[in-house]
């Protein structure tokens, strides 16, 4: 699977709210750097748990690819996400409790796929401060 296919597959799985299928796009020992957590997510199970938590945050959430750039085994993307804030959002400075408000945010990432076509590393970037402000929560 190419990097482009891997990202598309992961996003389609997210849009079906299928956390296990999202995690399947990652290798068993994949490492994901995510600003929500002080330490990287290590392994498929941690990646699935994070995805499940995000699906609880916005059970109606949908993502859309704005840009997807690929060079060999490296990719970079920007995805916009829209949903309703119905579950807690964990942040390094404490949880943001559900507000029922609309979430509209974007996620950018750089990543690499291995020989088997699975993602081995991903670095995610999004603005939790901006998201908290959108939800009317002062951090």
């Amino acid at each position: 699977m190419s990097a482009r296919d891997a990202i598309r597959q992961a996003l389609e799985a997210y849009n079906r709210h299928d956390a296990a299928a999202v995690a399947d796009v990652f290798s068993e020992d994949a490492v994901v750097h995510d600003p929500q957590y002080p330490e990287p997510l290590r392994g498929k199970e941690a990646i699935r748990n994070d995805m499940e938590a995000w699906i609880r945050t916005a059970p109606d959430g949908k993502g859309e690819i704005r840009s997807l750039l690929v060079e060999g085994d490296t990719y970079a993307f920007e995805i916009t996400m829209i949903g309703t804030h119905q579950g807690p959002i964990s942040t390094p400075s404490g949880d943001i409790e559900p507000t029922g408000k609309r979430i509209e945010t974007s996620l950018a990432a750089f990543g690499t796929i291995g020989n088997d076509g699975k993602i081995v590393e991903e670095r995610r970037y999004y603005d939790l401060v901006g998201l908290a402000a959108q939800l009317g929560v002062t951090r």
């Binding site: 060079e71 970037y125 939790l128």
Partner: protein
């Protein structure tokens, strides 16, 4: 213009304008109607607004330095993964200097036409910066 040349334009904007502070670099490397968006921190249109926004950061962090970690380019788009480091020695959006040093990482997505950046969208770890400066409420 080849995708690889567009990478150099994005790199020079970080190195010549953000890092070195060369005032001519803005007009050399961006179009007059540039849309400069700092994800969740607002949109700045044109040279004047972009200059004012970047100058605000450079005054708040006089030793600000961006390091380019990785770039991917395809068509007219370039994604750059960077690390920025600086010491908070000037007012930052109403926050008085803390004299603390912060290191944050982020991604910038540029659209380049004829050797100039037309649109630039940054996503970065604002929460990480606030934590390192100790300016989160409750900290």
């Amino acid at each position: 213009m080849a995708a690889q040349d567009n990478k150099a334009v994005s790199r020079r904007f970080f190195e010549d304008y953000w890092n070195a502070g060369n005032p001519d670099a803005l007009a050399q490397l961006t179009t007059e109607d540039i849309v400069f968006r700092d994800r969740d921190m607002g949109e700045h249109r044109g040279h004047e607004a972009t200059r004012a926004f970047i100058t605000m950061y450079r005054n708040a962090f006089p030793d600000l330095r961006f390091t380019i970690e990785e770039q991917i380019a395809e068509g007219d788009r370039v994604m750059t993964r960077w690390t920025a480091r600086g010491t908070h020695r000037g007012e930052l959006m109403g926050i008085p200097p803390t004299e603390k040093t912060a290191t944050v990482s982020g991604i910038t997505l540029d659209r380049v036409a004829d050797g100039r950046i037309v649109e630039s969208i940054g996503s970065w770890d604002a929460l990480g910066m606030m934590q390192q400066l100790g300016i989160l409420s409750g900290q």
